[in-house]
Symmetry: D2
Subunit: 427 residues, 4 copies
């Protein structure tokens, strides 16, 4: 933090008033005041390239003009803002767009449950649906998975520090090894299958299996198409519901709208949040295969499940996908990003940056855990925002907006390369 921003701070009540639990602002102690696309500016005027993208909630960048326009119009028209689960024109627009642009073209048939507007709440809802539909209690989750901080979702989350914060029991979830666990030394799908079929495994027949196709908080571990297909088949053949938590991996982050499209699987339940509101506005929804839509009216509620600004911006964002060129452009950026990450792997052998993830959902795993944090810190000084991931914080997340332009991406990556080069020399 330079002197200018530090002095700016004296006017602000953050340190005095905010809880000790705050975290991002400790590493990036700027006060942000403006944002546009892949850029942010702090109150001193310093500009940052944002490769955090709101932890996946800003896939379309900051303040996308088309979305902003729609929002301002909606506000000016005095459309209802908060509408519980009443019908509104805004919700109608969103639902229609979801159906027309996303579900129908992919041949998908889902009921939409608007939950509380957090990812955790979509997971809580999905667990309720799965447990009620199967009348079983256990949920299978995976090592390095993260699904949210409320008690039900937290039980399925693997981070020990976050779990300990619960201060109480986290029950009815069993964690199984994700693909590649233990250095890939065993077939984790076969192990899951054995545990499910073994009447003496100690694991009761579960209601659901919940997984992320790419583990955003867990260090960008990535499941292969083959593994996803096997897990889907394992679940389906045993009457276990498959929940894909696409909160961070969905909404185009991996290149397709849903992260599991490439794998050709059809989850029983899909959790969406983060970028589904388009503009960084809170929205959460659970997609439910119709036969499992068993919760009774009002059984899962939440005040903010009818957020019309989120509907409006979300619908405008979904509209982007109606042009096939959009997905193609994301794919191009993903290729560009991939080439760069692979190159760095060869270029900086001392740091050993192993490319993680896929699409625009990428990371670099370093040989030494501390390196990811050091890169993040040095990048911040240079005006590039990058966060770390993984329980040991050893993975640098590289998540530009999926809408970023070719040159802009290159510029941001250049900043990162400078940092890597410097650290590589130091080492």
């Amino acid at each position: 933090m330079n002197d200018a921003s530090r002095s700016a701070h004296t006017d602000w009540p953050f340190d005095d008033l905010e809880s000790n639990v705050r975290t991002y602002c400790r590493r990036f102690p700027a006060v942000f005041s403006r944002a546009q696309g892949h850029l942010m500016w702090d109150s001193t005027g310093k500009c940052y390239v944002d490769f955090i993208s709101g932890a996946g909630a800003l896939n379309y960048g900051h303040n996308h003009p088309a979305l902003k326009h729609a929002l301002i119009n909606y506000l000016l028209s005095d459309g209802p803002i908060q509408s519980l689960d009443l019908h509104t024109e805004g919700k109608g627009v969103f639902l229609t767009k979801l159906q027309d642009v996303i579900l129908d073209p992919r041949g998908l048939d889902y009921k939409v449950q608007f939950t509380g507007p957090t990812g955790a709440n979509t997971v809580e809802a999905a667990f309720k649906v799965a447990r009620r539909a199967t009348e079983r209690q256990t949920v299978i989750a995976f090592t390095n998975g993260f699904h949210g901080g409320s008690l039900g979702a937290l039980a399925a989350s693997s981070n020990r520090a976050k779990r300990r914060a619960a201060g109480t029991g986290l029950g009815d979830v069993v964690h199984m090894p994700y693909e590649g666990y233990l250095h890939g030394s065993f077939d984790t799908a076969a192990y899951l299958e054995a545990v499910l079929d073994d009447p003496s495994s100690g694991v009761d027949l579960p209601a659901a299996i919940v997984l992320e196709t790419v583990q955003g908080e867990g260090g960008l571990g990535t499941a292969s198409t083959a593994w996803l297909q096997r897990i889907a088949e394992i679940a389906a053949s045993r009457g276990i519901l498959l929940i894909v938590d696409d909160i961070q991996a969905g909404c185009g982050r991996t290149g397709t709208f849903f992260s599991f499209e490439e794998a050709g699987i059809t989850p029983d339940l899909i959790c969406l949040s983060k970028s589904i509101g388009g503009y960084g506005l809170p929205l959460g929804l659970t997609l439910i295969r119709p036969q499992y839509d068993v919760l009774e009216p009002g059984a899962h509620a939440g005040t903010f499940r009818g957020q019309n600004l989120s509907f409006i911006a979300g619908a405008a964002a979904l509209d982007l996908w109606s042009d096939p060129e959009f997905a193609r452009s994301v794919a191009d950026r993903a290729d560009q990003l991939d080439q760069q990450l692979v190159t760095w792997g060869r270029q900086f052998p001392l740091l050993g940056p192993e490319p993680m993830g896929r699409g625009m959902f990428r990371g670099l795993a370093f040989t030494e855990n501390r390196l990811a944090g050091e890169v993040s810190q040095a990048a911040f000084e240079r005006g590039l925002l990058l966060e770390t991931s993984g329980a040991r914080g050893n993975v640098l997340k590289v998540m530009p907006p999926i809408t970023i332009g070719k040159e802009d991406l290159a510029t941001g990556l250049d900043l990162l390369e400078d940092v890597l080069r410097e650290l590589n020399v130091e080492k």
Copy 2:
């Protein structure tokens, strides 16, 4: 639903696409398209007086001009929308306002934890804080209380149908009788005290006691000042943290900003959501007495904990409280409302509408459970929106915006009186 609105529906995907869990829209099957103050309009142009107020999330009415102005300006200026827990100018404005207008004038000293933007999440956070701070697990909650639908908050909620939807164990919460339980035939505070001090009550020493001063979802049961003071004393003298869930009762709903001001107690933790975002925009926060601010950085996270539109609108709403006239005006409306409710109690003895709640957080308990629903239905036909409350749905909630004008309130109440008169005759 008239034919016009029904035919309007055919264009909309609600019934086809939305989950069975939807509930408000079943009773009020209009499609709303515009809202202003205490009024809403549906897509056929029909106007409704809104005495639901977003279940407490719209205390300042729909689309308050001052707040709208601030929001549009913020959008035009490209301020950051979603900022995780980074510092932003918007958050700074909100925190400063909270301190200057609310906390300092009341002599209150709290740390602010921005949680996920739902009431449930503020409760989940408060439970984590209380459990970690005390290293105990049990939470005491009360009959007819409601604190949210995620697993931790749901365990503290009393509604059996919502609890069953969990489909799994809801542990570590013990429900005690709220004031007046069992027709007021015993001293529930004395019972709580006995249970806490009895080493053989079967109830382990708890981390926290969580309560609502007025039970919004539980039928508008209302705790007296004396009872609140006793519970606060019982907690304090035993090292048990007192959590006031002011999600629905706070932000002026009862007349004062916090619902417990009259009682003169100082909770250890306060949960705020719903109207804290001012404009119906999602925001949730937990106020923590500094000595209990024990969660480690990142121990409770959530993508949407940095919502700048909510900060902006929320700050503008807090600003309303800087004028003492504002609270005075709310008190006047509350008196007007109270007189009407009391009058009806005498006027319609067959229906026996017993006034519930306090301030602008009111209800009518009917002699027969079905009556509340019937009133709500008949009112909807006449253009008045009222929801029911209580596990048996026997309480009609009467919650106008706290900003409603004298004439507007009278007009809405007249509509309700028409319904009551009609039903009273029928009976």
Copy 3:
């Protein structure tokens, strides 16, 4: 402890080898070597009158001659000792006796499940049966109840210190106030009923209600016939199973074989242990109304559920009940005991010994908690064994064998009176 017994100790490994968890031997540090009826002798030859009766496992006194004879004969005949749940002649004798002497004469129809030979295990079995039969999870237990130390039974036990020893969550049991709680200031049965019928009490519809008619570990609280009948009716009319834990109160301790006979209720499940083995030998069984006998073969097992010495001695003990004179004699002793306790209440007002319990299941509650322990200690010095009860240890348990003779009972009571007189003077 006198010097003789202390020196005797030096030969023994107790203090060195036994776990810190040991408790009775701390207060009564003799080494016992012989026992007969109501008498015990330690290794120094000192004689003690035993009013502890193995905490209810020695209702028929020590080494009852008829039972001893049967046991020795069985051993000499090389009858099988441990037989899992195979049929044996010993088990046949026991079952036949149970049916002929106990069940049939009382018009009772139960299936017998031999569980692990501890009271806790009979409770664990009863909970499994109730939960499976109803497909519900919650069990209602009462303040000051004790049902055993294994995790399922412990969850229903109320003693906070014993609960804390679990070191983990104790779930799915809700404790309600026993009759007379809070100084009898409210109708606890009405409260239970309200909580069960209130869809917003926070208490889910339970599988079972478990109770002791006299709370042996909880301080000898005693339910009235009227209260028991109401609880039984409350359970029956809601499809909730009533479990009477007659582990300590049964087998004649209260005067009748089952403690609930006077109340005329028919529990759905009855837990028996302690004196059911007759001679202090381990045996535990759960009586199940036939329609609830739903556990599948082997669903609840336990190596020692086929204990033939216990069957043999238990059958011989049941045989005692075939003579109506036996119950009459127990009733006489109970009257004798009652008169004495009531007299003391008047005689020693400074100590305020309030008579507790009924039948031969008696206690004295003192005004000051420490007094019970002091009486127990002083009595031990004089050669009378008495233990304390209640979470605060303020109740002196007075539990002679139910077979004790009139003179022997008087002699033991005289010893106790001496102690009371002495303490009364000191005070």
Copy 4:
């Protein structure tokens, strides 16, 4: 069942009175009346060779003369039978013998906690100790393990049918793969280590690891010395307590008194039951390394924890171990048994009986699950008692008394060979 025994049945109340949960007696519907060494007789006089040995509670055979003698003498002397946790001469004899014959010669230093006299209760006690000593809640157990039917022990047991019988949540235990899981395709110790060290495995740092060295109920899976040493090291280096459940594998069943002696490990807690009472009499104890003896007096209780007949017979049984010839003789029998099992593996390839277990704790795993049950049934007809094991019942347990003579063992094995030969032909 022949006609004679069937008609004998008509006098017996078993089918009418016993709960549906009974299981052994369904497969072996004789009524047993006499037993001696490895032989049992039913009420028709038919003789059976007993290779079940009370599921491990009769390691020293039925009615061992030396033990019988001691028991009769004790009964004749009117020694106390049930003594809670008071000191008695009987307990003194047992403790002294345990120290002199078992602990001291092996250089072991443990505190002895007498728990309720079931294996499950020793496990419940061990879990309490471990959780209190570490202030952690999770226990690691293994696939195919069995530790008892009370809720705490059941949570650590893996059998799905037995778990389902609980009808409620079984929390705070995580099951990991036992050695050889998934056909030995991965290093289960390495997996355990990875999960423990991975801060994002979803498995919280546990209080304890509980294991059986040979899985008696789980199909006779057997841990190698190397694996046991690794698990012990993994636990020790992380401050996790190692609990060896030696309830079935201990007391000489594997050849040494403790089953882990060969592995040279020193568990933090050892659970003993079954044959520790020597004569099939109930006794259970938990051995605790002194530094973990943390439960407060009375924190874990149980009426039948002072069983003097069990002490007397148990002490006499321990005395057998004072002669080194005893262990040598058990080893000889184990060799004889092993040779036979290995021979059969070659001799009956169609049945594919794979030898399982070690010492006198043996089994045969068949290629088809149903075969074990068929062998057991056919053997019963021929007068040989053998039970099955494993969640799918595919393993035939072969557990003669460890005291069986060479010729007697050969005779019993001949009976079994006849059955195998017959079935091999049929196939």
